[in-house]
Amino acid sequence: MNTVSNAVLLAGNSPLYSELKILLESKGYSVLSFEQADEHKHEIRLAIEVNNLDLDIKKSTIKQMDMLLPANVPILTSSLAITATEAASWTEYSERVCGFGTFVPLIERSLIEVAPALQSTPLIVEQVKSFFDVLGKESEIVEDEVGLVFPRILSLIINEAAFAVMEGTATPEDIDIAMKKGTNYPYGPLEWGDRIGLDEVFAVVKGLHRDLAEERYRPAPLLRKLVLADRVGVRSGRGFYSYEKQEVYQP
């Protein structure tokens, strides 16, 4: 048995990248970057692309995967900000592209949504489903639309909370308390956004606004500005809340 035959090519700058890498390695996959992929390209069983906010980088990453890998290797792309169908349209072998989408932390997701592109073949979808089985995640097949179901609904809740903060309706703390105590949400929307990464949330809302072109999906200006200022939440030390690490002073 060749362990390298369990190779997965993983690329992208979403916070999902590092969590997927850990999960894949814990299930016995060897995770390869583009640099390592070239010499092992015939051993790669699947490629996963996780870019959400920057669609130019996303496009070039997917094109690069499509050029590098044999035509039967599935390319799983994060369809949070764009449909899998559009991502597939960038490729030569579009029938092997399939969308999926979720947010970090993966440990809290017992189920992951899979959205086949219009071009995806049933065989590819089956392969993707069994891949998630191996990772210990249930999967649910939904139609291909930006943000799928959970990321789309949650992002719009966070977006609405961001509008409320921007307008001075209440403090972030009070908004979070209200949603936990008044309607039993597992987390307040703003602390939740900070944990997921506001760049990921913004990518979903912006993607919906771009594709569906409705006022309904207008991103909250405050959300956009926080992302531009790299205040994306826990990951960068600051979002709706501050997470600056206390400097330990040693005399």
Binding site: T102, E108, R109, S110, L111, I112, E113, E138, E140, V142, E143, E145, L148, V149, F150, R152, I153, L154, L156, I157, N159, E160, A161, F163, A164, E167, G168, T169, A170, T171, D174, I175, I177, A178, M179, K181, G182, T183, N184, Y185, P186, P189, E214, E215, R216, Y217, R218
Partner: protein, 285 residues
């Protein structure tokens, strides 16, 4: 705070629940309703909660009697003159609420706090044109009031800081968790929760996923306790639709709150959720 004299207006489920919450904390409550039968029903509702609390060992038989005795049913608003605070919990009709506050402004002492348990009407609008609007504050309980910990304390345009602070402290005194909100449509919860229902309806309307799939996904991928459709069935689809319509209208038709035609058809068909035996799901006896 020492024990206060609290007036509660409207003895429906909300009013009765609020009266119970106040009495449980030791306050004396005058529960006002024009309808004798509604008052009787409110008293038996309070008695049933108390009986359950006794059987769970939360309170003693004697405490049960004491709490029950603290709630006095009345049908004459004039009797509220000595109250330290009055909580209005009648149905969501602006004119009714305005007429109540207009009477209270004359009946009650000048320092009586006047609280309204509205979920969808602007506090500023209720207080508009009424004598001493600075003491009219929103005080939004969640259903069921004895259980749900949150109270939204809503500052109307003319509410004074001092009275808002008093209302906030009163909420804490009741053992609740208060949050401060400026007077905006839907306040916090009914506004920020809109996409949970509305976007789920849109997603299923666009055939991206089925009702059952969306509920499963929101629970298993999202960690929500209930999916958006089972939750609508529990709340009442008509109630949920009315809340969305109200937020949408009061935001002057901002697209983010646009109601769903699917939900409207459910209401038109009388498929209101659990209470009508069917909604997005079927409920047998």
């Amino acid at each position: 705070m020492t024990y206060a004299q609290v007036g509660v207006i409207g003895a429906g489920t909300m009013g009765a629940g609020i009266a119970f919450v106040c009495a449980r904390q030791g306050h004396n409550v005058l529960l006002l309703d024009m309808n004798e039968a509604v008052l009787k029903k409110a008293q038996s509702y309070v008695a049933s909660i108390l009986a359950k609390d006794v059987s769970k060992g939360k309170i003693t038989e004697r405490q049960k009697e004491e709490i029950y005795e603290r709630i006095s049913p009345i049908s004459d608003m004039q009797k509220l003159y000595g109250c330290d605070m009055v909580i209005e919990a009648v149905s969501e009709r602006l004119e009714l609420k305005k007429s109540i506050f207009s009477s209270l402004a004359n009946i009650c002492r000048e320092d009586t706090l006047l609280l309204t348990n509205t979920s969808s009407i602007s506090i500023t609008e209720i207080a508009g044109g009424i004598k001493s609007p600075e003491r009219i504050i929103g005080f939004h309980f969640f259903n069921p009031a004895p259980v749900m910990p949150l109270i939204e304390v809503i500052r109307g345009k003319k509410s004074s800081d001092e009275n808002v602070e008093k209302a906030y402290q009163f909420a804490e005194n009741l053992g609740k968790v208060p949050v401060l909100v400026n007077d905006t449509p839907g306040f916090i919860v009914n506004r920020v929760a809109r996409p949970y229902y509305n976007e789920a309806l849109r997603i299923t309307g666009d055939q991206v996923a089925s009702i059952e799939q969306i509920d499963t996904i929101m629970k298993k991928a999202g960690g929500f306790k209930m999916g958006p459709f089972e939750l609508q069935d529990m709340i009442g689809i008509d109630i949920n639709f009315a809340t969305t319509e109200s937020v949408y209208t009061n935001f002057f038709h901002e697209g983010r709150f646009k109601p769903s035609r699917i939900q409207q058809r459910m209401v038109q068909a009388g498929s209101l959720g659990r209470k009508s035996g069917e909604g997005f799901y079927e409920y047998s006896e």
